[in-house]
Subunit: 185 residues, 2 copies
DNA sequence: AGTGTGTGCGGCAAATTGCCGCATGGTTGT
DNA sequence: ACAACCATGCGGCAATTTGCCGCACACACT
């Protein structure tokens, strides 16, 4: 695991590579993880991530599934090839069972659907093995809140178009409309 | 209860253990897999499966996620402990990302949602390595589906405890109970 | 025995939803 | 300008889902 110190000699913090094309998301997460004691680097493309990984040799990584050009799964493969000890958490906006299965097979230690908070990611890093013994993290998000966050995200991605969002989300426009007038629960 | 005290003489067919509480399903699948050259055994509970596995040492297994009493996941763990070379395909009526991730981490070679046909299972046994080329879907989950996945995840993290999960999720136990009996929308 | 907790399920009122309709405003192509 | 199309906001009402009560049973711990 501790192989080549390279440039970063006197930094005993574990290094973390965040790969996500959403710059804002990177910044927010970077801040949160720095506060939790990581030496954080960010990348927004597969190429950037690889370049960064070669120099900083991250012990931890969070990778978004959907990256410009290629799939984040490739990155899982490459990072694991670089250092099989790297702990990788896959993040995704649009979770699917197929990609989850592949990510784990490729060596990701966990797979989380956005929205996630930093504590969930921390917990995921710890859970390297499949288990019966489950370390419990308190889940701040109620189902109502989760739904609200998700709706906001999809709505935003569709530029606020309620009709389109309702169709995508497979719910009735009237219902979406009504939900939007209410506060997150 | 002890159904097959059969003595295994020389049998060069690969042995397959089918674990599912649905007897009819077992029979149908057993027939299909026998035709494909397997030496098939069936079990309907975790205990039966373990007993069977100890005598017949299956090289292949299909395990239903939902078994009376315990989850099929622990069976994955035990079978792998018995023989780490066993190829296990997880089957489930209600596929969720959480259980898929757990199953793969525990060593299952694949995870399939019912209904499946025998050929899919055959293909799954072959696919031991991860594949970074799988297409990523850009289609968001429906809100109902998202809720379902989230519930599954929290439920899993709380070892299937419905009362605790309901409290964390800030929903009524009765409502959670009712949701769990329904299909992911 | 007694206490605490989890589970499954029935019943019923309250809340939410699905689904209709209609009027309005914005955009696009003719 | 006009029609065609789409998104929006909202009212009404039936169907479904929920919250919340209850009860019985099982299991663990004292």
């Amino acid at each position: 695991m501790t192989m080549l110190p390279m440039i970063e000699v006197d930094d005993d913090r574990p290094s973390l590579l965040i790969v996500d094309d959403d710059v804002t998301f990177c910044e927010v997460l970077a801040k949160a993880m720095t506060k939790r004691g990581f030496n954080v680097h960010c990348a927004h493309t597969v190429e950037q991530a690889l370049a960064c990984a070669e120099t900083c040799m991250p012990e931890y990584a969070t990778i978004d599934l959907r990256l410009p050009g290629a799939s984040g799964l490739i990155l899982v493969e490459k990072l694991k090839a670089l250092d099989s000890g790297t702990r990788i958490v896959m993040l995704t906006g649009y979770a699917s069972i197929t990609t989850a299965v592949e990510a784990i097979k490729l060596g990701a230690t966990h797979y989380l659907a956005k929205p996630v908070d930093a504590d969930e990611i921390m917990a995921a890093f710890e859970r390297t093995t499949g288990d019966a013994e489950v370390p419990i993290s308190t889940h701040p998000l109620s189902v109502g809140r989760l739904e609200w966050e998700y709706i906001q995200r999809v709505l935003n991605e569709n530029k606020g178009n309620i009709s389109v969002t309702a169709r995508i989300l497979n719910m009735h426009r009237r219902t979406l409309q009504r939900k939007l007038t209410k506060n997150p629960r």
